[in-house]
Each structure stands twice: as structure tokens, then as C-alpha cells.
């Protein structure tokens, strides 16, 4: 076990919903009791669909959204209610990369300006030092001097995301939160950016919190993965373990639904879950997944399951985790994901 960099305890975030004059106060329970730990140097994946609360969680970690309740520790120090100068120092140690690079860059700031701001805010005086650092960071993300004076709209999607990544990392943070960093990019650009992120992690010994809905991507980059459903974590495990030995019915559903780019997948029986994700304002009683779960029992309807360590380093929130064997659904899918497609590198020239 390495050093714990980030420790989140019972994070909750409720957003009030404005009703009319006569309606009861209602809340969107975006994050409803989430706890986990991230070790230094690892990539912790957080996977879920829309409404799962994963994006809200990412913002809470970065303290862009204040939690309704719960505690957070960074490198051992409690930072839940940190303010002022201490807070500013903390900002240096965390960065964030958003999903849509064209929206996350200031349209009226050049690349140079965007990269200079973090340095200026944290006291690096103007001059040679700043220029050097900006250029060096640009090179690391695969851009060059010619991009310095360009505006975001003059760059391609991939280039914009590289600038966003450079901005997040220019102050040498310890933790970087990625919120769907490749989802709005083309396939060929996605792999370039993923490669970049992995390289940078290696070079700077970064810790990543990787938030996405794409199981195939999260599997490639993560050491451990947490699966979220309607504001709660339903399963946490090391990557291979999660896919080989899936224990929560929702994770099985998610895995079954993920489109895997290998035609072999047609022969695997898929677990198609019915129903719609319920509303986060009035989540179901008991286990939140119970209305859509085929293994539901009376206990599931009345009591919320707790997240328990059922096997070594494998946490599940399901009353029936010990009885059910769901790995038969997912093991084949995992095997298919391990197989390379498109053969090895060769070019067949047919005459």
C-alpha cells in the first residue's frame, strides 16, 4: 500500500430544487455518501452514467463545489474547510482537465495567456523564467512555439485539449482530475491524448482521478475503478478484478452495455438491464438499483446496502454479493477486450 494522497469520507452534495410557493423543499442528491481513497501515483477511475454524480464528485475534490457534508483529506491534512492563503497553496497541487476543450479555454486568451495565468497567480514573476516554463510545458504536450499566440478557435480539438492539459499541469500538481478528457474528441485524437496523459503521469509521477462513462477507456488507464450509480459508489476494485470478477449487478449491466469494438462480442450473451435511471430527487428506497435489478429481494427494497470489503481490496454494496456469481457474464467480455484486433502490424500488398 502506497501513501494515500486523497481521502474522501462520506461526501454528500445536495442541490436545492426551487419549487413553487406550496411545494415541499426538495433536493437533488447528486452525491449521497461517497467515500474512497486514492494512493499516490495511481490512476483511480470513476465510472458511471449521467446522473451518477461523478462529475459533481470531481468538482468537489477540486473544491469548485463545496460539499453539503463530509470530509476530505489531502496528503494527510484535512482540507474540508480550508480557506485563504492555505487554500491558495492547495490549488497549486491540484489540476483539472474538462471534457470540452473549446468550452474550457477562455476564447479571448491566447495560449500564452492561458498558460501564463497559473504561473502569475502563484507568484512566478514575469520574464525569462515564465517564458521558459511555458515553452517547456508546451513541448511536453506536443505543441510548439508557433501556437503561443493563437486563440482557441484557431486550434483543432486535440490541440485545444493539449493546451488545457498544459494549463492543468504547469504548476507541477500532485493530483489531476480528468472529467471525460477524451469523450468529445475524434477516435484518432483520443488515443493521442490518452498516450500523452499516460506519458505525463510517468514523467511527473502524477496521481489521476479519471472520471468517464467509457468502460473501455477507463479500463486502459486505471489501476482501480469505482462504479457510481445515482450518487453512491456500488463497487470498487482493481481493474482486472473488476472485470474478471464483477460482483454488483449494475456493474455487470454497465459492462454488458459497453460497446466493445471486437466482433467476437456478438457471440456473448449480454445482460440488458431494463428501465430508466430514476430521478436523483427521489431515489428509490433501500438499494437504489433495486427497481432495475433482476436479483432483487425484500431486503433490497427496504434496506440500503453498505459498501463492504467482500474480497481483498474489492468493495461491493449489495446484499447478495456473497450469493451471486455474476462473473460468467463479464469474464467473456473481459477476455474479448484483452484480445487484439486488427492483427499485428503488417501490410499485406496484394497484386
Amino acid at each position: 500500500m502506497g501513501r494515500i494522497l486523497l481521502n474522501v469520507e462520506e461526501f454528500k452534495k445536495y442541490f436545492p430544487v426551487k419549487g413553487g410557493l406550496f411545494s415541499k423543499p426538495a433536493y437533488i442528491r447528486a452525491v449521497d455518501g461517497v467515500s474512497f481513497q486514492v494512493e499516490k501515483g495511481e490512476t483511480f477511475g470513476v465510472v458511471g452514467e449521467s446522473g451518477s454524480g461523478k462529475t459533481t464528485l470531481g468538482m468537489m475534490v477540486l473544491k469548485l463545489i463545496e460539499p453539503t457534508s463530509g470530509k476530505m483529506y489531502f496528503d494527510g491534512i484535512e482540507i474540508t474547510s480550508i480557506k485563504g492563503r492555505e487554500f491558495k497553496k492547495l490549488r497549486k497541487r491540484m489540476g483539472i482537465v474538462f471534457q470540452d476543450p473549446s468550452a474550457s479555454l477562455n476564447p479571448r486568451m491566447t495560449v500564452r495567456g492561458t498558460l501564463r495565468r497559473p504561473l502569475a497567480i502563484h507568484g512566478v514573476k514575469r520574464g525569462e523564467e515564465v517564458e521558459k516554463r511555458i515553452l517547456s510545458m508546451l513541448e511536453k504536450v506536443g505543441l510548439g512555439r508557433e501556437h503561443l499566440d493563437r486563440y482557441p478557435h484557431e486550434l483543432s480539438g486535440g490541440q485545444q485539449q493539449r493546451v488545457a492539459i498544459a494549463r492543468a499541469m504547469i504548476l507541477n500538481p500532485d493530483l489531476v482530475v480528468h472529467d471525460e478528457p477524451t469523450s468529445s474528441l475524434d477516435v484518432s485524437v483520443q488515443s493521442q491524448i490518452l498516450n500523452l496523459l499516460l506519458r505525463l503521469q510517468n514523467e511527473f509521477n502524477l496521481t489521476y482521478l479519471f472520471i468517464t462513462h467509457d468502460l473501455v477507456t477507463v479500463r486502459h488507464v486505471s489501476d482501480r475503478i469505482a462504479v457510481m450509480y445515482l450518487g453512491k459508489i456500488v463497487e470498487i476494485a482493481e481493474t482486472d478484478e473488476l472485470f474478471k470478477n464483477t460482483m454488483h449487478p449494475y456493474t455487470v449491466a454497465l459492462l454488458s452495455a459497453a460497446p466493445i469494438p471486437n466482433p467476437e462480442v456478438k457471440s456473448v450473451k449480454r445482460f440488458i438491464v431494463g428501465g430508466e435511471p430514476p430521478s436523483p430527487i427521489n431515489p428509490p428506497q433501500g438499494c437504489r438499483f433495486h427497481p432495475r435489478c433482476r436479483y432483487v429481494t425484500k431486503e433490497c427494497i427496504s434496506q440500503e446496502p453498505r459498501l463492504l470489503e467482500v474480497e481483498k481490496n474489492h468493495y461491493v454494496a449489495c446484499h447478495r454479493s456473497c450469493e451471486l456469481d455474476l462473473s460468467s457474464y463479464t469474464r467473456d467480455l473481459w477476455r474479448i477486450m484483452e484480445e487484439a484486433i486488427a492483427g499485428s502490424e503488417r501490410m499485406i500488398i496484394k497484386t
Binding site: 497549486k92 474538462f98 497559473p118
Partner: protein
Amino acid sequence: MVLNLNRVKGKMLPLLHYRTSCVGLLIVFGIAAIAVGATVIAPRHYAETDIVNRLRPPSLEYPFGTDVLGRGVFSRVVYGARIAIWVGLFVVFIEASVGVTLGIIAGYYGGKIDKVISAITDMVWAFPPIVLALGVVTLIGPGLNQVVMAVAFVSWPIFTRIIRAKVQSLVNREFILAARAIGESNLDIMLRYLLPNVVSSILVLATLTLPAAILSTTALSFLGFGAQPPTPDWGAMLSDGAAQLATAPWIATFPGIFIVITVLGFNLLGDGLRDLLDPRLKV
């Protein structure tokens, strides 16, 4: 500008607009040129009297005729262009400064601050501008500077409203979140992130409110609160010429025509600018 003009060219109606905004641009340039080159264009100083030749109709020597004191109407109109534009610009500058600042603050902070600013904005907005301006000049006395202050004082709400709406649409976008994530202070976010992104709206708004500013100041001068004689303010000239309208119509007519053309020019230009830069702006 070329890119957007091409988008505009795609349909017939905007094509019409494109032409009219060109007309607007020409007019604005024309009036501005007259204002700048007043000393060269005008044959004589605006206060120079020639009592012998008073109330003469337009002639070669006095292209727009003379007024009751024998001053050349042409020269006075030409110098008047300076005043009209200068005064208009001043008013818009003050309006914009106050309005934009309040708009950005209200849009960014929201909550109680927004409620207070919006309430004040709505209150001032509710008054007919001329009436309110009249009230102000009655308090602070007549004079061109006072008129500028009065008109600016009542016209800033439009800036606040529009900029506040614009800022509200920007404030939840990811680049603002990203700015907070790197530790930008509220002031820096407003200055470096919000302000540059509303500049095009400010420009459009300024061009569209300038004619209103000119009209308001002219109106106040017409009523006697603005420019004091012998300042050749067009509104004052209208007032002077009103008495002689039957016998010496040229004294009021020429300044009147120029007021109309100037206001029209800025309106056309402003419409064109808005279509180019910010089509969703509704003034």
C-alpha cells in the same frame, strides 16, 4: 469580418442589411469627418456675427443662410457636428462604464448583490429618460456638461441589463470553472475572463445607444437646458429657428436634417454591427 459577411451573404434579407449598414458606415464617417475637419470646412467661426446679413436665405456666401444674429448656419451646423459627436461619445462612455461594471458584478455574483443591482436598474429603467434627465438638470443647473451627466445617469440601465444577461450565460461555462480551479480571484475573473468576452456586445450596444444619446442631449438643449449660446448645438439651433420657422425655415431645417441623418447613420451601422458580432442581442 470577412468570414461573417459571407455567412450573412447566404440569405437575401441580410444582404439588404449589409448594404444598409454600409450606408450607415458612410454616414458615420462623413459626419465624423465633418466634425474633425470643422475648422477647415467651415468658412467662418460659429460665433462670428454679421448683423447686416441677418436672416438671409441660402446663398453662395452663406450656403445654409444666416440666423437672427447673422451667423452662418452652415458654419454653425459644421461645428455642431463636433458637439453632437463629442457629447454623444461622452455620454456613451459614462453610461457604458457604469452600466457594464454593474452588469458584470450582478451577473457574476448573483444572489443578494444581483437583487440589489437589478432593483436599482429596474427603477431607473422605469423612468422615461427625458423626464428623469429634466429632473436632474433642474437640480444641477443648465449647461452641456450637466446635460451629459444627466443623460448618462438615466441611460446606463440598458448596459447593465444586457451585460448581466450575457455574463449569466458565460458564468457557468467551463472556462470560468477552469479559471477558479487555477486560483483566479473574483476580480481577475471579471476583468480577464468575462469582460473580454462581452466586448463585442458592448461595442454593438454603444453604437446603438449613441444615436439615442445624441437625440436626448439635443432634446435637452432644445428645451434650453443644454448648450448655452453661442454654442452651436444642433438642438439649440432648432430651438432658435423654431420662432422663425415660417419666415426663415433654413435656420431650423438644416440642423434638423443633420440630426436625422446622424442618428440614422449610427442606427444603421449599429444594426449591421449587431448582425455581424452578436445576432442574438435584443435591444
